[in-house]
Structures are given as structure tokens and as C-alpha cells.
């Protein structure tokens, strides 16, 4: 165990930062960034801690940005009044959610709750826009990766929609 008096806090901090950079690198929208660029992103993200059952984002609230799960797990669910919900996904370490809010302030389409005590990193639109202006080269890399992620999701949604329509038409004709 490290001696609390003689232990070097600078190295400990460095190691923590390295962990965060490694985690950021795993997120698709930051995967093309080099270490220096990741360090720039690290300067503008917010670290938050949520207790079990705590709401991270609420369905219907204005979207502000995305979250990356660092530790713990998060449930994404839609709410239909009086506490009724339908869970959409169960996210663990390294997963992210709310990335569409990086583009505009549209209301959140689902809520996110902490399933256990968890640490998350928040990356928000105003900081992203500021980054795009100050560091255009870096900002464009993130923007392009975000476009690819959303495009990929749209493609999957299209495929699902086509499959559902095919199923429907088969049932109809059958």
C-alpha cells in the first residue's frame, strides 16, 4: 500500500489521467484522436458521481451533451407517467449515451438512471462548439466521428425497419 505521507500524489494524478485518456480513446467519437488531442478533450469534460437510483438525465429535459460510464452501470429507459417505464438498455463501463444532444437541444428521448453507485464523464455541446472554434482540426475529427456513429445507428435502424416491414407484409400475405 502506498504511504500516505511519502506517496507521490503527482504520479497518482498522472495515472488517473492516463486511465481517463484510455477510457476516452475507447469511445467511438474520440477513437481517432492522438494522446495530445485526448488530453485537450479531458480538459473540458466533467466528472460526476451518481448514487444508486439517482437520475442522470431525465426524459423530456433539454439535451445538453453525452455521458460516458467510467464505473458502475446505467439503465436507459423511457417513462410513461406514474413511474411506468420500459427499459431500453443496460450500459456498463466504457459505454456512452446521449450523444445526439451534442448536435442540438431537442428534448431527451429517454431517461438514464444509475443502477448502482457510478462515475461518469460528461461531454457537453457548448464545450464541444467552443472546441470546434478554438481547435478546428481536433473539433472536426470529433464531429466526423460523431457523424459516423450517428450514420451507423441510422443504418441499423433502417435495417430493423425493413425487417419489421418484411415481417409485417409476410404476415399480411400469409
Amino acid at each position: 500500500m502506498e504511504n500516505p505521507i511519502w506517496g507521490n500524489s503527482i504520479f497518482r494524478k498522472k495515472k488517473k489521467e492516463d486511465d481517463i485518456l484510455t477510457l476516452l480513446k475507447q469511445v467511438p467519437i474520440f477513437s481517432d484522436l492522438n494522446r495530445k488531442e485526448l488530453a485537450e478533450v479531458e480538459k473540458i469534460v466533467h466528472r460526476r458521481t451518481y448514487k444508486k437510483k439517482e437520475t442522470i438525465i431525465k426524459m423530456g429535459d433539454p439535451g445538453l451533451g453525452m455521458y460516458i460510464v467510467v464505473k458502475g452501470s446505467v439503465e436507459i429507459a423511457t417513462e410513461e407517467g406514474k413511474g411506468e417505464k420500459s427499459a431500453l438498455a443496460h450500459l456498463t463501463e466504457g459505454s456512452f449515451f446521449g450523444d445526439l444532444a451534442l448536435l442540438d437541444e431537442s428534448p431527451r428521448s429517454a431517461s438514464a438512471f444509475a443502477l448502482e453507485d457510478c462515475n461518469v464523464i460528461g461531454f457537453f455541446r457548448p464545450d464541444f462548439l467552443d472546441l470546434l472554434y478554438r481547435k478546428p482540426k481536433l473539433g472536426i475529427k470529433v464531429l466526423f466521428a460523431l457523424a459516423k456513429t450517428i450514420g451507423e445507428r441510422l443504418r441499423r435502424t433502417d435495417e430493423l425497419l425493413m425487417k419489421t416491414q418484411e415481417k409485417k407484409s409476410k404476415t399480411h400475405h400469409g
Binding site: 480538459k43 473540458i44 466533467h46 466528472r47 460526476r48 451518481y50 444508486k52 437510483k53 439517482e54 437520475t55 442522470i56 438525465i57 431525465k58 423530456g60 429535459d61 433539454p62 445538453l64 439503465e75 436507459i76 429507459a77 417513462e79 413511474g83 417505464k85 420500459s86 427499459a87 431500453l88 438498455a89 443496460h90 450500459l91 459505454s95 449515451f97 446521449g98 428521448s109 429517454a110 431517461s111 438514464a112 438512471f113 443502477l115 457537453f124 457548448p126 464545450d127 467552443d130 472554434y133 478554438r134 481547435k135 478546428p136
Partner: protein, 379 residues
Amino acid sequence: MDKYTYELYSQLLKTSWKVFLIILGIALMVILFPYAKDVLIMFIIAWLLSVLLSPLVDYLESKRVSRGWAILIVMIIILALIALSFSLIIPGIIRTVEALTTKLQSDVINELSVKTEAFFEKNFNNAELARNVTAKLNEIGVNLLNSLGEFFKNVGSFLASMVIVPVITFFLIKDSRRFKRAIISQVPNKYFELSLNILHKVENQVGKYIQGQTIDALIVGILSTIGLFLINVAFEWPIQYFFFIGMLAGLANLIPYVGPVVGAIPALIIAILNNPPNLGMVLIWIVVMFILVQAIDNSLVSPLVVSKSVNMHPLTVIVVVIIGGKIAGAIGMLFAVPLTGIIKVTLQQVIWGLKKYSLHSISPLKEDSFLNPKGGEAA
């Protein structure tokens, strides 16, 4: 004591503790304000400067200059400009105002008094009334110029003593994001997104407002200077120091409704004191020029550069200017309207946020839903 009563008591205790702390905080602020006033004003000026300079720093940063260097370059340019204005403009203005005060106290006022007395005696046949009127006019004139002189002396010594302002400005620009993150990290989760969103929106709007006001003041200053220069050319230089007076008019323009009138007064006084042969025409042209500048400002400049979100009722402007003057003298009067604008924008955003965000900290969902979450597609 049952569980419910115990929880109620503990909640009540927590709330009263919070209320006590808030009251204590407000009381401390009120008690410490007279001592901290100067520091506070320094911070406000440094903050205003940081808001004004940040876009330039960001621009240089976007051109691949490192942030530290970008701040240094901008600060050196600004400090050089401030030093230049100190060595050239401020002493000049103080000398002018002092000379004018002496002149006003001596011959010109007497001349004007005799003329006014004669006018009243001729038209109203009342020498007593004439003497009263001229005495009052004399008092107002001297007071006005004295206060103007004091204003510049105060500004001069105040700014000269503030070597520290550039240092504060440097760190405010360099570490603004770090400060913002540190503040926002203390906000409870329930209010986190709401606070962050409001903070960004307020920062954005306030930045635009301050930058807009400064550009507007600068344009009005330049237009007034050009106008006064043209009058000087046409009427054999009846207005000395036209550059300072023009720029002063631009500065006064920061105070809506009141500013444009205040801006015109020094030019009129100087013209009267110089008493050129065609004084009437000069005065008319000065008034016409200032009206023209205001017309151009209101129809062309303001709509383009000044944010609409901070429009204020004339009555509000008058009240806040008086309060600003009471708190911090001439500087207070100058900054009263912009600061009220900032408070207005902040309140607007807070109200917007409270309307838009549903402030739930704990999920309304049942416990078992957390134990057995259903799987599904990613949101």
C-alpha cells in the same frame, strides 16, 4: 418518536441550517462590502476585460497559437494601449477640465451673469429673480465641472493604482474553463445539467452584450470625434480636445437615454467658454451633430451590434444609474446599466431553465425494476 416524525425533524433541521447559512452569508457580504468594494470593482473590471479579450485569444488559438502565448500577445497589445492612453489622454483631460473650471469661475460666468441679469431686468423687470437664476446657474456649472474633474482624477488614480487588474485578467482568461469546472463540480446532481446549461447561455449572452456595447461605444466615440472635427474645420476650431470629448461621448453612450445628453454637454460648455464669433451656429451644429450620431447609432449600429435581450425601460435605467452612482460614484453610474443587463439575462435564463427542466433527483421507478432491468436497444 415514529420514523416519519424523525425524518420530518431531521429535514426541518437541515433546511433551517441552510437558511441560517444563507442569512449569515448575506450579512457577511453586507458587512464586508465597504472594505471589499475596491477589490470587487477590480474584479468586475478584470472580468469585463476578460470577456472582451477572450474572443481575440480564442481567434489566435484557432490559428494554432498556444493559449498562453495568445493571452500574452493580446495582453501586451492592450497594456500598451492603456499605457498610451494614460500618458497622453488622461493628463490632457484633467488639465483641460481644471483650466475650464478656473475659467468658468472667473470671467465667462461673470459675463454670462451680467447678460442674464440684464435679460431678466429688461423682460421681467425683476433683478432679484435674475440674481437668483444666475447664482444657481453658476453653482450648477461649477459643480458639474468639478465633478467631471473629480471623475477623471478618480478614474486616473483608480486605474493607475490597478496594476493588479491585468494580472487578474490574465488568469481569468487562462483558467476560465478550470474555474467554471470547479464551480460546477460543487453543484448537486439534481441541478447539474440545469446549472451548466444556464451558465453557458448566460456566459454566451453576456459576452455578446458586453462586446456589442463596447463596439457601439467605440463607433459612437469615433463618429462624435469626426463630427466635432468637421465643426472645428468649419468654424475655426471652437472646440479644443475634440478627440477626448468625442471619445467621452462614446463612453457616456454606455448609459442609455442619459448618456447621449451627457456626452453632448462637455462640447457645448467648451464652445460657450471659447465664445467664438458665431457661437449660436456652433451650438446648433454641435446639437445637430450629436442628434445625427444618435440617429445613426439607433438605426444602423445598435441593431447590428447590441443584443436585444437586454432592452430596458427608461425608468429602470434611471433608477439603476442613481443606485450605481450612490454605490460607486461615476464608475458605478457607468457600469450600472451593463451590470443590470447581466442580472436581467441571468434571471431570464434561470426562469427558462426552471421551466424546461424537471428537477427529479431520485428515479420514480420501483426498486425491483433496478434489480431486473429488461434488455433492449441502445438509446
